[in-house]
């Protein structure tokens, strides 16, 4: 496969004196489903937010194939954000607008500014949105305000919005942390589907180790801004988990909650 690889080189982000992400170097080949785990404050969110440049890195570089992401600005930056879609812990939908319009937000960068500002989307785009909603069993809530549907449904709407961006890469920042276990499974299944069926690379922050083990091809563990483990889920032994989360996690206690 000739799909581009995401290269992170020496990526660092400081907030004042605190180093949130410290010299992270990582290669993510196309089509992988990668789970990033680690205790709260380990820098997982900061890392993800730097990849789509919601945060600017303090040092280091991000490259996607030949594209130097670190230096992008303006139109090129928006194009990059469109290519690497992001979903959030709190879904970040617009609660007062209907589900369909929320999904169509994924098309903003695909049409002229004026028409998109007026909310004029084409019939083809509406059909595309509805198709995405149908795929995740949401067609019946298409015209309901996004603030009125359940958290699990909102996160799936966020995935639909991300898909309408026609991305190459999907970033997910704690996508199931605000959901009950049943909804968490539905949302993780949806992420796995877009990874398997659409061939999207998925980069997913998770605090629940079991979820990461169940769904990811590869697990990257962070602690205090650094990568402390990178490998297949079955090589993540109990001893290594203790190393990631600290010694206070006794044998048999899974760090399920942060």
């Amino acid at each position: 496969m000739n799909e581009p690889v995401l290269h992170l080189r020496g990526l660092t982000r400081r907030f004042g004196a605190k180093v949130a992400v410290d010299d992270v170097t990582l290669d993510i080949p196309s089509g992988q489903m990668v789970g990033i785990i680690g205790p709260s404050g380990a820098g997982k969110s900061t890392l993800l937010r730097m990849v789509n440049r919601l945060l600017a890195p303090s040092a280091g570089s991000i490259r996607f194939g030949e594209l130097e992401v670190t230096a992008l600005s303006g139109r090129a930056l928006r194009d990059w954000r469109t290519r690497c879609a992001m979903i959030f812990q709190q879904f970040n939908l617009i609660p007062r607008l209907d589900v369909l319009t929320n999904v169509l937000m994924g098309r903003l960068n695909h049409r002229p500014v004026l028409t998109s500002l007026l909310g004029l989307f084409s019939a083809a785009e509406r059909a595309m949105a509805l198709q995405a909603l149908e795929r995740f069993d949401l067609a019946d809530v298409a015209l309901v305000r996004a603030g009125r549907i359940s958290g699990g449904q909102q996160q799936r709407v966020a995935i639909c919005r991300a898909l309408l961006q026609e991305p190459r890469l999907m970033l997910a920042d704690e996508p199931v942390a605000s959901l009950d276990p049943r909804n968490a499974k539905v949302v993780m299944d949806a992420l796995r589907r877009i990874n398997r069926e659409d061939g999207l690379t998925v980069l997913c922050n998770l605090h629940d180790l079991d979820v990461a083990r169940d769904y990811c091809d590869r697990i990257v563990a962070m602690r205090e801004g650094r990568i402390v483990f990178d490998g297949r889920p079955d090589t993540l032994t109990e001893a290594r988990v203790r190393g990631i989360y600290g010694a206070d996690h006794g044998a048999g206690t899974e760090p399920a909650l942060t």
């Binding site: 789509n52 919601l54 970040n92 617009i94 007062r96 960068n109 919005r161 961006q165």
Partner: protein
């Protein structure tokens, strides 16, 4: 023996009491100083009060029971008191239209300026400061002063009044709008920006739906204030009922003064009530 916590507590209490008394004294001194500077003496107040009553006594029209509902020619009738009701009604209508136009125009100006003047959305510090100062400039000049300048430029008439009130409204609403925007939930904003949307997209889709009900409510509140403002702005020749009121006051047509003031109070109260209803409805739209 008092426990150490209790001692510490007592010391803290005494310190607070002393600080309270100290600041209270400073406040009292400031109050007295300002009263002295502005010559707001109780004696002057007492001396002037009866004359207020005197003026009001002159304003009371002579009405006779026998002819109360007679025509405009019958002395002592209501119609005689309000003998120019038709032209006053038109002037009041003009005044409320001035206020409506000025509020609409001013609110549009405020809407355009409020987003770059909100700390959470301003693209950079320079734009933020520029827009904030601009809004302050619009707001700090009273509409009456704008009217004086604009009457000189555009001549006597409602246009000067509309522009004057409108300019002040830009500043007043812009600041309030910016504060609403600063309290907006930023998660939708992040969602839109992360999807590749521009700053304008973020404003339009992530922020506007949240803040619009509040904007509407503040605009209506401003409309109520502007209706009152528009009645006075005619004093400097900027159109509406104020111009007429100024004339009858300067000519000491006492019965006409009371008639016009009564009409103004009625109209302003009616508009206030209607707008309050609308605001209540708008606030109800604020919940998702």
């Amino acid at each position: 023996m008092t426990p150490p916590f209790e001692t510490a507590w007592q010391i803290r209490r005494r310190a607070r009491l002393l600080a309270g008394l100290g600041w209270g004294g400073v406040l009292l001194a400031c109050l007295l100083l300002s009263a002295w500077v502005s010559e707001a003496y109780p004696a002057a107040l007492l001396a002037g009060l009866p004359r207020v009553g005197e003026y009001f006594a002159k304003l009371v029209p002579t009405l006779h029971w026998a002819t109360l509902f007679g025509g405009t020619k019958a002395e002592g009738s209501l119609a005689y008191w309000f003998y120019r009701l038709d032209s006053w009604a038109w002037l009041l209508f003009e005044t409320s239209q001035m206020a409506a136009l000025a509020t609409l125009g001013g609110a549009v100006g405020g809407l355009l300026l409020c987003f770059p003047a909100a700390a959470n959305l301003a693209p950079n510090r320079a734009v933020y400061l520029l827009c904030r100062r601009l809004l302050e400039l619009f707001r700090s000049v009273p509409d009456l002063v704008y009217a004086l300048i604009l009457v000189w430029a555009f001549g006597v008439g409602p246009l000067a009044g509309i522009l004057a009130i409108g300019l002040h409204t830009v500043g007043a609403t812009g600041k309030l709008f910016a504060e609403v925007v600063e309290n907006a939930d930023m998660q939708p904003w992040e969602g839109v920006r992360a999807a590749g949307g521009t700053w304008l997209h973020g404003v339009r889709f992530a922020i506007l739906p949240q803040v619009l009900p509040n904007f509407l409510s503040y605009t209506l509140l401003r409309f109520e204030i502007n209706v009152r403002g528009a009645t006075v702005i005619g004093f400097v020749g900027a159109g509406g009922i104020g111009q007429e009121l100024y004339q009858v006051i300067s000519f000491n047509y006492y019965e006409e003064i009371s008639a016009i003031v009564l009409l103004i109070v009625l109209v302003v109260a009616a508009i206030d009530l209607a707008s309050e209803r609308l605001r209540g409805w708008a606030a109800g739209q604020g919940t998702p």
